[in-house]
Subunit: 98 residues, 2 copies
Amino acid sequence: MAKGSQEKKRCARIAAIFKTLSHPQRLFLLCCLCEGEAAVSDLQKVCGAPQPVISQHLSRMRREGLVKARRTGTSVRYRIADPRIPAIVRSMEKIFGP
Amino acid sequence: MAKGSQEKKRCARIAAIFKTLSHPQRLFLLCCLCEGEAAVSDLQKVCGAPQPVISQHLSRMRREGLVKARRTGTSVRYRIADPRIPAIVRSMEKIFGP
DNA sequence: GCGATACATTAAAATATGCTAATATTATAT
DNA sequence: ATATAATATTAGCATATTTTAATGTATCGC
């Protein structure tokens, strides 16, 4: 395998995660989940977007391993998949914040 | 101003940065610059993409405040704009790495 | 079972992004 | 001043992403 190829693969992998984080609403949803577990309907209220859009965003974040889900009766509650995720968002805010 | 609106703006801002980081080649370029300043021609060699593509990527990262540039004769050398950036990429690798 | 609630999925239209090719700029050397 | 090397910019096309709208699935209470 060519030199640097390994590094490029790592970048492609991380870039895919960054892409998932690169949508304003999606990132906002993630930030909401940083405060604690929440149902789709809760997120819909604070986010203000149509329900299918929220579901699509959450679905994508789940595929990418950013969040996890569990059913509670008829509702589904989402949560952050890794406790180190909030720190990354906060670091970004410190560096690139207003 | 409505509640949560401030938070949404922050997310939009950070999401824009994430979007810039969300391209494999761009992220690879940034990682190269994490090792130290480099000229466009150097980056072209390790990256293997056409020169205009590299320039476009660098130009965008510059606009977003991720990198800085300075001329040295006929060549332009790029560098990371903030020393805290490499840590973010490394954190991401730790969490989402192979 | 039936209706209602909460969520998920899909397809198609609208929009944004990235690549290519051509051209422009900037600085050095002769 | 002209030529050359290094980098930047632009426009147009191809592709990917987002949104919208409609439909599907699952769970609970009756």
